[in-house]
Structure formats: C-alpha cells, structure tokens
Symmetry: C2
Subunit: 217 residues, 2 copies
C-alpha cells in the first residue's frame, strides 16, 4: 500500500486516482477547479482545491510523503512546469507527468521527471495496432520484434489442431496458453484438436505472427 | 494493406494516422483546421480541410471506400455525433470513435459505433497499474484475472533458479519466456540458474503474480 499525489483531476488524472484507490493505495488529489475536486472528494484520501503554481499552497499538502506525484495538467504548459519545479523544491521523491507536445516532453525530461506520459499519442498507437490487426484482442511487446498476442480462433477450425493449420510455422512461435470458456491451459500441445471457441495466447516474432494470424481466422 | 479514414487530426487522430501509414496502410485525413491538415499533408494518402458537420463536404471524400473510419473529435460533442450520423448515411462500413464522457459513449454506442475509445481514461488505468506494480515492464490481461507480465530479475538473484526463489508458487504460474540480452527462450525450465540480467515473461493469476513479483526484485 503506497501513497500517491495526483495534481490535475481532468479525465486522465481522475481515472488514475480512482484506479489507484481501487488498488488499495492512498491518493491525495489536487485541482484548482472546485467541481473537479468535488467529483472525487468522497473517494480521495485527501482532496485539495489549490492553484499549484502557488508554492505556498502546494507546500501545505504534504506531498513529500508521497511515493510518486503525478502532474496530470495538460493544456497549461506553464502550470505543469511550474508545478514540477515546486514539487522538486518541496523534495517530492519521484515525479511523473503528462506532456502535450515533444517540446513539453523535453523540458520535463530535463527537469528530472521520471516518467512522461502522452495519453493521446500512446492510445493513437494502440488504436492503429488494433485497426491493423483486427484479429488480435490484446498484445504486448516483448522486445526484439517479438510479441505476445491473444487471438480468437475461428469457429470453422473446429476439429483441426494447430499442427494441422500451421504445419510450416511450428518452430517460429510458441503456443503459450489455450483458453476455452473458463479453462486456461498452459503450454498446450499443438496436436490438441480445437473446438473453434478458443482464444490462443501466442508468442512469436512479428514475421511469424503476421503469417499465422490470417490462417487462424 | 487497408484504407482508413481519420476525422480530426488532434494529437490522438494524428498519431493514429501516422502509425497506420507506417504500418503500410492508406489514410484519408480530414480536419477543419488548416494547420492540423498541413502538418500531416505530406504523409497522408489524401488530406482534406473540411467541416465534417457539412454532409455535402463529407460526401466528396469517398470515405465509404474505407475499411474503417475513425472519428477522433473529442471536445465538440455535436460535431462528433453529427459526423457519425453523416458517415452512416454515406454508408461507411465500420466506424470507430473517441468519446469524452460516459454519456458521449452511450450515444455513440446507440448509433452503432463499433469501437469507442477513451484515450485519457484508458491511459489513466495503465499509469495506475504502472505505479502499482513498478517492477512490471509490460502487462497484458488474459481474462479470468490472469495476466501475462514482463518482469526484470534483480541482479542479486545471480546463481539462483526460479525453483530456488519461488518453491511454493510453482504450480500457480507458468514461466513462458526467459529473455537474456538478445536470446529468447520459450518454456524455459524453472531449474535453470539465473544470471541476474534476465527479463521473465510469466502468466499467472493475479494472486500468484502478486505473491511472486516482490521475491524476484
Ligand atoms: N494551476 C493549476 N492548479 C491546479 N490545477 C490545475 C491548474 N491548471 C490546470 N489544472 C487542472 O488540471 C486538470 C487537467 O487540465 P487539462 O488542461 O490538462 O485538461 P485536459 O487536457 O482536458 O485533461 P484530460 O485530458 O485529463 O481530461 C483540470 O481539471 C484543471 O483544472
Ligand atoms: N466539425 C469539424 N470538422 C472537422 N474537424 C473538426 C471539427 N471539429 C473539430 N475538429 C478537429 O478535430 C480535432 C480534434 O479535436 P479535439 O477538440 O478533440 O481536440 P483534442 O481533444 O485536443 O484532441 P487530441 O486530444 O486528440 O489532441 C481538432 O484538430 C479539430 O480541428
């Protein structure tokens, strides 16, 4: 159980706060807009209405006790940067921040912000990947152009096994998990006959996955 | 190679467009703001400056030839909804859209939008998870409270094997991949001695992962 500070309770800051609270952590939420604070006041461990460009106001919030403080102010570049500078002089242990441009990112980076987030760009990449690979439910990059993907098996493949469907690809991927309704089987045999209602979790090189995915659909 | 339409070239729409172009697809990009279109004009397959609330203007863009059209207009609720309605009457095959509130989401859903995206909220959840599990580099939900996670092994564990470190957890997780510099080993033996520079990809129930992760750090 840790303590986090979230400054800026717009959609991004608010959702991060609520999720952290759900995960059992303490969250101090701060925003200059009363309505934004009121919306979350009953959930937050501490809620404060404050203009964070005002160092005095920020000092009173005991944010140096937080493990990490997230600055989720996007539009107002000056408020974001001034807030980060104040947090550093207060002695906050670790700062994460949202950035709205490449230049904003570079400045935050030079100010020692540990992790910089671009919500819209990062989701843009995920959405493009989802449009590009409609058969992939979920994916995770493993580095070295390897990916872990979750694919639904086409019902027409009922009665066939992975070996039948993908005889030439077998050495190029690893069938990690087979999910069928509520059962999860790890390292399933590729000779198991599918029922057509499975979801497969496969790790392989991008090249191998691209060649296999259409055959499973 | 597919064809996509992206309406609204703010940070989210612009990044989705660039990523789709990188992935080899054709992208028609539309925005009423000339600067936004100019920024991407040299990359887009077709670029159009148009107010998409104007059905006549939208009709001239041949968007019905797209596999999917993404409406990436956030702030202007009316523009977003009117655009979706026009796209439907134009006969666009599939529509995805960004939503900025729960109500916006509900309306889009009733209008038959296939996939609705909340960039700020979805990133808020990811950031909260990253703050919650600082040892996890990447993760993917597998459903049924199972996750696939990538964790860096602590260098102090040099010379120990997974069996040594996690004797009681062995049946509750599956060691899927072991990455060491450029080598990726699938289904590695849990008796292999670690060097302390590995990254492990593990699938397991949330409960099992929560108990194991600290022991690997
Ligand atoms: N100086 C400040 N002090 C405190 N809070 C601030 C300050 N400036 C902005 N905020 C708050 O930060 C929050 C996020 O602001 P921002 O301008 O990034 O909105 P946004 O980009 O629409 O947010 P989101 O995309 O997360 O919904 C707002 O609720 C705003 O009131
Ligand atoms: N009627 C319209 N016709 C065409 N484009 C529009 C229309 N209304 C808004 N847009 C464009 O949609 C884009 C995204 O608008 P939005 O108000 O969502 O900005 P935003 O939320 O800051 O975007 P992002 O978060 O993606 O950066 C803008 O570039 C804007 O010019």
């Amino acid at each position: 159980m840790a303590q986090f500070g979230v400054i800026g309770l717009g959609r991004f800051g608010a959702r991060t706060s609520l999720e952290l609270l759900d995960l059992g952590h303490e969250v101090i939420g701060v925003d200059s807009d009363e309505k934004s604070v009121d919306a979350l006041a009953e959930y937050l461990t501490h809620a404060a209405i404050a203009d964070v460009t005002d160092e005095k106001a920020l000092k009173e919030l005991s944010l140096e006790e937080c493990d990490v403080v997230l600055v989720a102010i996007g539009e107002d570049l000056q408020a974001s940067l001034l807030c980060v500078l104040h947090l550093k002089s207060i002695g906050v242990k670790e700062i994460w921040a949202k950035a709205t441009s490449k230049e904003h990112h570079q400045i935050l980076s030079k100010l020692g912000v540990k992790r910089i987030i671009h919500p819209e760009e990062e989701m843009g990449i995920r959405v493009a990947q989802a449009l590009n690979y409609p058969m992939v439910n979920e994916y995770m990059s493993l580095g070295h152009n390897w990916y872990c993907v979750e694919i639904d098996v086409n019902e027409d493949l009922n009665g066939k096994s992975i070996e039948d469907i993908l005889p030439d690809d077998l050495e190029h991927f690893h069938l990690l998990l087979l999910k069928r309704r509520d059962e999860v089987t790890a390292n399933p045999s590729t000779s198991v006959k599918l029922e057509g209602n499975e979801t497969l979790v496969i790790a392989g090189s991008l090249k191998a996955l691209k060649s296999m995915a259409p055959k499973l659909q």
